[in-house]
């Protein structure tokens, strides 16, 4: 199965850049996106699904990027796992469907990934939802 990304120290590459082509191309793109983000504040999404990876390349790339301090899980139409890589500002967003099959795997270069943000329209309805819950509480709710 398209296994989750585990940061196994045993597979952590030595310092320096990876020496395989597929990863180099991606990392160059990430570097470019980071500079762009610093300069303009615009975020970038890179789709990792349609890359000509050799078997094991993706796992190596994820291991190489490593894990940062933040990890999150979103439950919407199946789970989405989000984690910051060891490189600040470089996030991985792993969208899965209800059967935990990967839909897409993206690198998002941003302050934090879009999927974590509360949708503005939901916030507009938030007060109403809160009121409803308070009403329910008054009726002997939670």
């Amino acid at each position: 199965m398209t296994g989750g990304s585990v940061s196994d120290p045993a597979t952590m590459p030595a310092a320096g850049g990876p020496d395989w082509d597929a990863a180099k191309a991606i990392l160059n793109e990430v570097r470019h996106a980071l500079r762009h983000f610093v300069a303009t504040g615009e975020s970038t999404l890179i789709d990792l699904r349609a890359q000509p990876f050799a078997p094991g390349d993706l796992e190596r790339l994820l291991a190489w990027l490593g894990r940062g301090e933040v990890e999150a899980r979103v439950e919407a139409l199946g789970p989405t796992r989000v984690w910051e890589s060891a490189v600040p500002g470089v996030w991985l967003v792993d969208h899965r469907d209800g059967d935990d099959q990967r839909l897409t795997l993206q690198i998002e270069v941003a302050e934090f990934p879009e999927i974590l943000r509360s949708p503005a329209q939901d916030i507009e309805q938030a007060v109403a939802i809160l009121d409803a819950r308070l009403g329910a509480a008054a009726d002997g709710g939670p």
């Binding site: 199965m1 050799a54 078997p55 094991g56 059967d99 099959q101």
Partner: protein, 576 residues
């Protein structure tokens, strides 16, 4: 010509099948099965490299997507006396087994179930009771009331959305549907569940063959090498993935497919009395235990059962000219030495002859069944019309004393409170498919463990290059490649001359089952199964015909694949 009930297209099958049935009152007294599409793959094969044949024959069918590939490489290997490594045979077994499990489950839920399950009725079900029902027959975890309520809501939204799509115009509400609403809802949920499950099951063929449908094969072994130190070979990670897929298959068979079959069968016990027909069954046997294709080691035994006599298994010889023969008395072909003789596949010839042999110019309402009425031929074993497929195999296993099969059959019959004779029926055929799936799903363990054992022992070979180059071949060679496909006994016969294919013939399960009458007027298995035992509640909604025909799991593109270059009707209008 008498007016007949015509069902064309028979849907939820592979290929193009037409059934015409003559009624006396509400009973079918004559049935005619017709394959209505021809491509000519055997003609196309002539003159080509025998090592390429698997790819061509595999495209005979994308449903049983592996079987013609395996039969073709085996035919070439048989012709050349080409031995393959033990690992290659084990990997092929795993692929064949996975194909069986995948194909049978998909057949049950996606091709056959709607004959027994009323989708619309599922809207009335109570999710709580459905949950209770599901939990009473299995420990499958997806059985909460919430789960079934979700499925129902989705189905409801779909029906109310106004576009019924694939479910439009089904015979919903037909009196022959007898499941309670809750059983219908459970089956609908499992219909969707099985669609998701099969995507994972298909991955086993992808690991070994690169893709599914139409995985890759190679004469002399398999394409994937084994190397635990390589990313780009079968390594520990890949083999672990295979194990996970096998586990997923076994879980679904044990917890969903098997319990569902028995539960649904309980409501349709009257179908244990009709829909058999011939009483003769043939099985080439398959799934060897060792490196060689030795019938003594097969999981499925080889043999023929005649007249329901389980006490005697007759032996089969694929090479003998007087055993397996094909007739064309009612097919749209010509034989050069007369249309009433039978030809062994090595000498098989087939000239497309639609108009001259009674084909009616389209558009037509009825076939001329006095003359040719099908693109299928009529294969016969020693002149006998036989049935092939899961029922034949389960009977063979049962008759030869296979312990697990005996246990499964006996307990299923006991559960349903039916006698052994119930096997000879539409219901028996459908149940046999489920039971053999269980046998094969369990057998996957043995092949997997043997493969792992070999790898541990350092035995890594997956391909034998000794006879790869055509320069090493004899000038002339002929061979028979056989296998048990999900739908039954499959044989490919190849004649090689100067490193090229001189003749190629495939006699496939659905040709045995769906073929037309022979020169003596003896019907094929489909025809016999429908005749004289089936009543139609409503001739406008011939659901009963679908039940019996679908119980065979027709695969018609497989069954029709023949033609010959020496025909006036063949025209080449290739655009180049």
């Amino acid at each position: 010509m008498t007016e007949r009930v015509v069902v064309d297209p028979i849907t939820r099958i592979e290929g193009h099948l037409r059934i015409e049935a003559e009624l006396s009152g509400d009973t079918i007294i004559g049935a005619y099965s017709s394959g209505t599409m021809v491509r000519g793959i055997e003609t196309i094969l002539r003159g080509r490299d025998p090592r390429d044949a698997w790819a061509f024959t595999q495209r005979i069918c994308g449903v049983c997507t592996l079987v013609h590939g395996i039969a073709a490489v085996r035919a070439v290997e048989d012709a050349l006396g080409y031995e393959i490594p033990a690992n290659a045979q084990l990997i092929r077994n795993l692929m064949i087994g996975a194909q069986f499990v995948h194909d049978h489950v998909m057949h049950f839920y996606h091709l056959h179930a709607l004959d027994w399950v009323d989708i619309v009725s599922a809207l009335q079900a109570d999710p709580k009771q459905t949950s209770a029902l599901a939990q009473s027959i299995s420990d499958y975890p997806k059985s909460s009331p919430g789960y079934f309520a979700d499925v129902q809501r989705r189905l409801k939204g779909f029906v109310e959305g106004g576009q019924l799509g694939i479910f439009a115009n089904g015979y919903w509400g037909h009196p022959a549907y007898r499941l309670p609403a809750e059983a219908n809802l459970m089956a609908v949920a499992h219909y969707l569940e099985a669609l998701a499950w099969q995507r994972d099951a298909a991955r086993l063929l992808t690991i070994f063959g690169g893709k599914n449908p139409h995985p890759n094969f190679v004469v002399g072994g398999v394409t994937s090498p084994i190397d635990l130190d390589s990313d780009s070979a079968l390594n520990a990670k890949r083999l672990a993935q295979v194990r996970t897929i096998i586990d997923g298959m076994q879980t679904f068979v044990d917890q969903v497919y098997l319990p569902d079959t028995l539960a649904i069968a309980g409501f349709y016990k009257d179908w244990a009395e009709r829909g058999e027909g011939l009483g003769n069954f043939l099985c080439y046997g398959d799934l060897p235990a060792g490196a060689a294709l030795d019938p003594a080691t097969f999981l499925f035994p080889r043999g023929v059962i005649l007249d329901r006599d389980l006490s005697r298994l007759h032996d089969v010889d694929l090479h003998a000219d007087d055993e397996i023969q094909e007739f064309i008395a009612h097919s749209w072909y010509d034989y050069s030495a007369g249309n009433d003789q039978g030809l062994h596949p090595y000498d098989g010839e087939t000239n497309l002859s639609y108009d001259a042999r009674g084909g009616v110019a389209p558009p037509y309402r009825q076939l001329d069944v006095a003359q040719g009425y099908s693109w299928l031929k009529s294969p016969r074993w020693k002149g006998r019309s036989v049935e092939v497929g899961p029922l034949a195999r389960v009977l063979m296993l049962y008759a030869s004393g296979h312990e697990q099969t005996r246990g499964l059959v006996d307990s299923a019959l006991a559960r349903l409170d039916l006698p052994v004779e119930a096997l000879f029926s539409t219901l028996g055929r459908t149940a046999a498919r489920t039971l053999e799936t269980k046998v094969i799903a369990d057998a996957l363990d043995g092949w997997y463990d043997a493969l792992i054992g070999n790898v541990r022992a350092g035995e890594l070979a997956t391909f034998n290059d000794r006879l790869w180059e055509p320069a090493t071949w004899p000038r002339e060679a002929r061979g028979a490649g056989f296998m048990e496909a999900p739908r039954g006994a499959l044989g490919h016969w190849i004649v090689i001359e100067d490193g090229r294919i001189a003749n190629y013939q495939a006699v496939v399960p659905s040709t045995w089952n769906a073929g037309p009458r022979d020169p003596d007027g003896v019907p094929g298995a489909y025809e016999a199964a429908l005749q004289d035992n089936t009543q139609l509640v409503d001739a406008q909604q011939p659901l009963e015909i679908l039940r019996t025909i679908h119980s065979f799991d027709p695969c018609i593109a497989c069954a029709v694949h023949l033609s010959d270059p020496h025909t006036g009707e063949s025209i080449d209008i290739r655009v180049t």
